[in-house]
């Protein structure tokens, strides 16, 4: 915690800001990229959202109160950015975010930045039709191995509610894969 406070101080000090921000990017770029990619599904969109996320982190860093951990604050910004992006994309295409995600998942085989087999595609199709919250919880718990406490801090939902969401998501996914 003390280490994090010192790092935040470095991020806010104009003299050390640039070096500290480079360090922040190299620490979080990979986990954040995959977190965002799981939501927006294609690489180009994930790249846009990831860059916007880091720019927002930089702009709002002076407002960071330290009430939550730095990583959960950054994850929250990334999650919001990704959801906003997918909703705006759906609005632009006059459709729903679920329809957009299904369209991308159905074309995964042709995606050069996807290297998966039939079961992976089937799993993505099952996730695409889940309600938004269950989708987020499943991605963060199953693929990213985040703890419930960490997810709770990022999404602002109680651990109990998250466990229930994950349980429902798993049941729906198992039923989808069994019948398809």
């Amino acid at each position: 915690m003390e280490e994090e406070k010192a790092f935040i101080k470095e991020l806010l000090d104009p003299k050390t800001q640039n070096a500290a921000f480079q360090k922040l990017i190299s620490t979080y770029q990979k986990p954040l990229y995959y977190h965002i990619r799981n939501i927006v599904l294609n690489h180009d969109d994930a790249d846009d959202v990831l860059q916007n996320t880091f720019i927002k982190v930089f702009q709002y860093l002076k407002n960071f109160k330290g009430e939550s951990k730095l990583y959960s604050w950054i994850y929250r910004i990334a999650t919001n950015e990704a959801i906003t992006f997918i909703n705006q994309k759906a609005k632009k295409n006059k459709t729903t975010s679920e329809e957009i995600q299904l369209r991308i998942v159905n074309n995964l085989k042709a995606d050069v930045h996807f290297d998966g087999n039939e079961i992976q595609i089937k799993l993505q199709k099952a996730i695409a039709v889940l309600p938004e919250k269950q989708k987020l919880v499943f991605n963060m718990k199953y693929f990213q191995d985040l703890k419930y406490e960490e997810i709770s801090e990022i999404l602002g939902t109680s651990v109990g509610a998250l466990k229930a969401s994950y349980h429902h998501a798993v049941k729906k996914i198992e039923a989808f894969v069994t019948t398809n």
Binding site: Q22, Y34, L50, Q51, Q59, H113, G116, Q120, E174
Partner: protein, 136 residues
């Protein structure tokens, strides 16, 4: 397909991959896109600016009313100004002026002169032409 159970299946990863070398220059790319020394934009329709505008208008209105009050024309016009006015506006005829005079004004204008008859005699002796006027 028999009942699929996630826990019984080996861990499935997403299959998503990033292009090769994508993360190598990402931090530089992001740093280049960060706006430097952002200019603070003050919205015109903010509540504060409306308050300032209202206060400014009130002050201007007060200044104008005070200035007018201080430079107001006195209600009573002095006699010299009145005389000048009559001289300039020669369109006002003698009869017009007479019409405006009432009994009281005429009484005030009636000046009683106590002139002795010998004094009149002296004036007539000195000014011979006056006698001419009196005869005619």
């Amino acid at each position: 397909m028999k009942d699929f159970k996630l826990d019984n299946h080996p861990k499935i990863n997403t299959g998503f991959i990033a292009p090769e070398g994508y993360f190598d220059d990402l931090s530089q790319k992001i740093s280049n896109n960060i706006p430097q020394n952002e200019v603070k934009v003050i919205p015109l329709n903010s509540r504060k600016s409306w308050l300032f505008s209202a206060a400014a208008i009130l002050i201007i209105a007060l200044c104008i009313s005070i200035t007018f009050k201080l430079t107001a024309i006195p209600a009573e016009t002095d006699e010299a100004a009145l005389e000048n006015y009559i001289t300039i506006h020669s369109g006002i005829s003698e009869s017009d002026l007479l019409d405006l005079l009432d009994e009281e004004d005429l009484r005030k204008m009636n000046v009683s002169l106590n002139v002795e008859s010998n004094e009149i005699e002296d004036i007539l002796v000195q000014n011979t032409d006056v006698e001419q006027y009196l005869i005619n």
